[in-house]
Amino acid sequence: MKTTRLLPLAALLLAGSAFAGDHRYTLSPAYVAECGSCHVAYPPALLTAPAWATTMQGLGKHFGSDASLDAKTHREISDWLQTQASTRDKHAVSGKTPRLTESTWFHKEHLNLSLPEKTTSIAQCNACHTRAEQGDFGEGSLKSNRR
């Protein structure tokens, strides 16, 4: 009796975290504040741990911008990214400035798409994923599905 009453609660708690398959990602407040200021805070589980480490080491020259952080925030976000990173090969990328938009998985998922007007790069996730800012990339929040 007790267990059955607990189950809905457990489900509710789990719904808040990255759920394999439903494409919702938990984002830490520090990550959103610092890594969501110039662009949408990218889902941490779409790149591998080494790629995030490379990204964090290069923040002084980050895609042509200075995105450097103070030491404390840098460590906090680096550590958090390492716990959230993907362990799968399909999310691995090479290169000095890793782009999650260059993984095998991303290419496969985004084949033959044309960018909406005023969108200059596929990295502007929120141009199509209307709830990207909340970490929600489920099909229900795709722009074409909303029309």
């Binding site: 110039c38 042509g64 911008s65 995105a67 200059t120 502007q124």
Partner: protein
């Protein structure tokens, strides 16, 4: 005895959270506070320095400084308006305090973005004089 014993952990907890919140929230600052700090810095660097100029600030804001970007590339030529990041197109709230009361109220945030954006635009940090001129200009901008 038992009372004090059971109370003290709670008191310690309350105290700890008070200290923590006081720590997390740096003293509230206003744009005018920043202006005063910058003036002191500018005079320290150059004892002959008189006063900031909104006109110089506006010129600085809209000019390029040897690279492609000016401050106005992302913040627009009208700082009372929302801008957008030149590369990512993400919207940026207005920079003028009259249009956006959260601007120039958080020292860590102000320092961080001056450092970053000046490096991106001027390939160096901005001087106190440049920052003060700019802020003086922003304070003249009406919403």
């Amino acid at each position: 005895m038992t009372v004090t014993k059971s109370l003290s952990p709670i008191a310690a907890l309350l105290l700890a959270s008070l200290v923590a919140s006081a720590h997390a929230q740096a003293p509230a600052r206003t744009p005018v506070d920043f202006q005063a700090t910058l003036l002191a810095e500018a005079r320290q660097a150059n004892p002959a320095f008189k006063a900031f100029s909104a006109e110089r600030g506006q010129t600085f804001f809209t000019a390029t400084h040897g690279n492609d970007w000016s401050c106005s590339t992302c913040h627009t030529r009208n700082p009372a308006q929302a801008g957008a990041h030149d590369k990512t197109k993400k919207p940026i709230d207005a920079l003028a305090p009259s249009a956006n009361p959260r601007r120039f109220t958080d020292a860590a945030k102000v320092d961080k973005w001056f450092r970053r954006n000046c490096k991106d635009v001027l390939a160096r940090e901005c001087t106190a004089e440049e920052k003060g001129d700019l802020l003086t200009y922003l304070l003249t901008v009406k919403p």
